[in-house]
């Protein structure tokens, strides 16, 4: 009684008692309040998010378009012979430029070494050698190699300009001067890499003829640099991606992928507030995953030779089984057994055995729940080079949840069983889950010119929680699955080579 009075006194006095609030408290809260939500406000703003996604998509598409236009092939005539002629002309003009640059370098060298006769001879040799190389270049018939040469000429021109200041510094001795010239010659020979065509032995002989010192050094230089250029040519051969068509159209692939995937799903439930620890444990034990599936379609466009951008729309469903054992009644039953025993003397003893036991009634609730999601996958793909009918690629990206709804039986934090439909979804689960990360390995097999068949093992996990934040419970899903589908080239044309 006294305790009750004491408790009542405390409650009456303190329930509505207002203590003086320290000065500046509101300013602190206002400052903190304005700072925190900024991190995620854009995420809650649907229109802003949509505009952002559209802007990013438009930028990527624009960039891809720009890249395609930038890499458009030069105009070629309809016959191969004409092509060769044009290419030869182009090569000649490049060589002319090269020659001019080299001459300039030699002139610079000459002016810095007091115009000796020896240097004049060297410049003559250089000119002659260049002419020879130009003639050989005119026999070029392969467009791609010439294209590569053009790049190499440019780089060699740069090298030529770069070496000239060094030459000016090192003209004090004959030996150093000769070395610079050897390098210049090496550059020339490298620039003519169409056929490894500068005959090394011939060049060395010419150098010997004019007493150019140690020919072995030169031979080594030439061999090394030719080797490098040959290697460059080999690599460059495979970097050409867009084959020009006979009607000058540029090939722009756009793939449509349609797929379906069975999934094995795992759920983690965790209470972030001790208030909900028991609830989280109960929920976790009552709900068990029974797998799921995803169906969808996406478009894939190449960004360059190896990289592709994929975006699409997919529906995924996670199924779970609900099984809850709940105590409904508990009662104590007392059983008293009485017996009478009489001994030999006629004494009677009454014996009573009392047994108590508890009887507990449980009710079992079984059901099925479905987490349904409409999602936007955005992925970046790296496709490995392949010369067979089997292709391999790696995908990584994000899945943006557009809408999510739950249907089925669920236990509420107040331990009530609820049959949730889409309308009630917002009270327990979010209607927009947020982001998931996805990674996969795609193995595809060519069926025909336009169609590929692919299998894609993947994993995904939720970055964001799908439970309402008011419950202080984190519920996240992760899944592994196998996508099986078809890849169809929408922009395929038979006019391509």
């Amino acid at each position: 009684m006294e305790q009750n009075l004491l408790d009542k006194h405390f409650k009456d006095k303190l329930s509505n008692y207002a203590s003086p609030v320290p000065q500046g408290m509101w300013e602190r809260i206002a400052a903190e309040k304005d700072r925190k939500p900024k991190v995620i406000w854009w995420w809650n703003n649907k229109s802003f998010l949509l505009i952002g996604i559209l802007a990013i998509t438009a930028s990527i598409v624009g960039f891809v378009q720009y890249q395609n236009e930038k890499h458009e092939s030069p105009k070629v005539t309809s016959t191969l012979n004409n092509k060769n002629n044009n290419l030869t002309e182009e090569s000649v003009s490049i060589n002319t430029n090269q020659k001019a640059a080299i001459e300039k370098t030699v002139v610079q060298n000459a002016s810095s070494t007091s115009n000796t006769a020896e240097q004049q001879n060297k410049s003559t040799i250089l000119e002659e050698a260049n002419k020879e190389k130009t003639n050989k270049k005119s026999t070029a018939t392969h467009y791609t190699q010439n294209k590569t040469n053009k790049n190499n000429y440019n780089s060699n021109l740069s090298e030529g300009n770069f070496t000239s200041p060094n030459t000016n510094k090192s003209v004090s001795t004959k030996k150093e001067f000769e070395k610079e010239d050897y390098n210049a010659k090496s550059s020339i020979s490298n620039s003519n890499n169409n056929s490894n065509s500068l005959d090394e032995s011939k060049t060395i002989e010419e150098i010997k003829k004019y007493n150019f010192g140690n020919a072995n050094i030169l031979k080594l230089n030439i061999s090394k640099q030719n080797g490098l250029i040959n290697k460059t040519i080999d690599n460059k051969k495979f970097e050409i991606r867009d084959c020009p068509s006979v009607d000058n159209r540029i090939r722009k692939d756009l793939f449509l992928e349609v797929y379906t995937a069975p999934e094995y799903t795992k759920k983690t439930v965790q209470a972030t507030n001790p208030l909900y620890t028991n609830y989280a444990n109960l929920k976790d034990s009552a709900e068990s995953m029974v797998g799921g599936f995803t169906v969808g379609m996406r478009l894939a466009t190449p960004l360059n030779k190896n990289w592709l951008l994929k975006a699409g729309l997919q529906y995924s469903q996670i199924n779970e089984r609900f099984s809850l054992q709940k105590e409904t009644n508990r009662r104590t039953i007392v059983v008293v057994t009485t017996r009478t025993e009489t001994d030999a003397l006629g004494n009677t003893t009454i014996i009573s055995d009392t047994t108590k036991y508890q009887q507990v009634d449980y009710s079992y609730t079984n059901g099925v729940g479905y987490y349904k999601n409409l999602e936007l996958p955005v992925m970046l793909t790296y496709q490995f080079n392949s010369f067979s009918n089997t292709k391999l690629s790696l995908n990584a990206g994000l899945i943006i949840n557009l809408s999510s709804w739950y249907k089925g039986t669920v236990i509420s934090p107040t331990y009530q069983l609820l049959n949730v439909s889409k309308q009630e979804n917002a009270d327990i689960y979010k209607t927009k889950v947020g982001l998931s990360f996805v990674g996969s390995l795609n193995i595809s097999k060519v069926v025909n010119e336009r169609l590929d068949l692919f299998a894609e093992p993947y994993f995904r996990f939720n970055i964001t929680n799908n439970q309402q934040s008011s419950y202080d419970i984190k519920q996240k899903f992760s899944a592994i699955g196998l996508s099986l589908g078809l890849k169809y080239n929408l922009h395929y044309s038979r006019n391509h080579f």
């Binding site: 006294e2 405390f10 207002a18 203590s19 408290m25 509101w26 602190r28 903190e32 925190k36 001790p274």
Partner: protein
């Protein structure tokens, strides 16, 4: 301005409404914070976190029941969350303890709010939390057990000890007064 208008204003992120709401409730909520916290600095931190949480989660208030009760629950949750981080120890009492201390009602009837606050603040963490939750917030021992992740019996024993300690404090005050 009615409470409904005030809440709607806060939902629109109207700073004036938010300030008004704070001014209306801060005093009572600060008392709640002081009851749970060890000192006034900690109470201020709880109040700050609590009101930020109120403003950020106001859309979850379903206009069912008292708004003040909802805010109070949020503040209490914040306080408990903070105390949980400090790992409050709830010592078990297994043996039956007979409370012989008798305090007549006149001994505490004259005590004001500030005196009662001091008495509560003198209690150890475990006693204080259970006393607040049971006596003032009105949670049952089973609910307290779930909230604090302890046995209901532990909650009961903590309350018994808290009451005993409060009574002793009141008797001490009475002796001083005499």
């Amino acid at each position: 301005m009615t409470e409904l208008e005030l809440i709607k204003g806060c939902l629109r992120q109207d700073a004036a409404c938010q300030k008004l709401l704070f001014e209306q409730m801060a005093g009572k909520m600060f008392t709640v914070c002081l009851r749970y916290a060890n000192d006034s600095m900690e109470a201020e931190d709880i109040l700050q976190d609590g009101f930020i949480r109120v403003f950020n989660n106001l859309h979850q208030f379903k206009f069912e029941g008292s708004f003040e009760g909802w805010v109070r629950r949020v503040i209490v949750n914040c306080a408990l969350k903070r105390l949980q981080k400090k790992r409050v120890v709830f010592s078990e009492i297994n043996e039956y303890e007979n409370n012989n201390t008798k305090v007549e009602p006149y001994a505490f009837s004259h005590l004001g709010e500030d005196d009662l606050m001091k008495l509560i603040n003198n209690l150890p963490d475990g006693y204080r939390i259970v006393f607040n939750l049971n006596v003032i917030e009105g949670y049952s021992h089973e609910e307290i057990g779930q909230i604090l992740n302890i046995q209901a019996s532990t909650s009961r024993s903590q309350l018994v000890k808290a009451r005993k300690m409060l009574q002793q404090q009141i008797l001490e005050l009475q002796k001083i007064a005499v």
